[in-house]
Symmetry: C2
Subunit: 120 residues, 2 copies
DNA sequence: TACGTTGTTCGATATTTGACGAACATCGAA
DNA sequence: TTCGATGTTCGTCAAATATCGAACAACGTA
């Protein structure tokens, strides 16, 4: 990515419940995960959250470090994707439960996707 | 209870995903919840955790405030119980997922019950 | 090669959190 | 009523977190 190369992605066995729970105890991050819920890869710049870009970068890092998302760099741009398969394998049912509760309370609604992907 | 009366217990509708996730992102607290997993009420003094009693009190308060446990006072003693029904109603599947993951990793194993309940 | 874009990293804060021991409050018992 | 037991609360610290703006680094492009 831009700045530093090769963000660390913990592999399946390194994903821990404690870290995932901690990562998902912040509304911005839950919002980000919800936005990625459909499994599609999203561009960093599509993500809309009411925080400074350095803060958004921080949150995305927490998610990545916890093994919740995967970041891919392509040229100058980054793309983020939910590691749903890995999470479901390692922590069965957790993501579903979080989505269920978050959806019903519209938690993390402050986060959204840019309507127009070109709004990069 | 001892010290101050009537600990606050959020009712069903006040339980939030964010607070529960935060409460369950600490190994001691996950350990406590695991110890209460069978639904039986336990005496405060039965709980064994590698922290000072003021710290244990703190953790039990975090769990109580999040709506995860219910505390009852009887004379000089306190009894704690998991609010499983409420949690399952408000956050379906979450507790199960946490138990599943915590059990398989033996998370929070530092917490246990006194072998002899009289070890009060 | 000089720029502009895109995220990341670096301080700097302010807040929250975990932990401890000591003081305290409440209840039951001597 | 004087103790002893049982938790809670308080004051204090250290460590972790959330945020921000500014400086940076890596790419693509003019």
């Amino acid at each position: 990515m831009v700045g530093v190369r090769q963000p660390r992605h913990p592999d399946l066995g390194e994903i821990t419940l404690m870290e995932v729970m901690g990562a998902l105890s912040d509304p911005i991050r839950v919002g980000l995960v919800r936005v990625l819920a459909d499994g599609r890869e999203r561009g960093w710049s599509e993500l809309r959250a009411p925080v400074a870009k350095s803060t958004l970068s921080h949150h995305l890092r927490v998610l990545r470090d916890a093994g919740i998302t995967r970041t891919r760099q392509e040229g100058t741009r980054c793309y983020v994707q939910l590691r749903r398969r890995d999470l479901d394998a390692r922590l069965p049912g957790l993501l579903n439960a979080v989505f269920l509760a978050a959806d019903s309370d519209n938690l993390g609604a402050q986060v959204s996707l840019a309507e127009d992907p070109s709004t990069t």
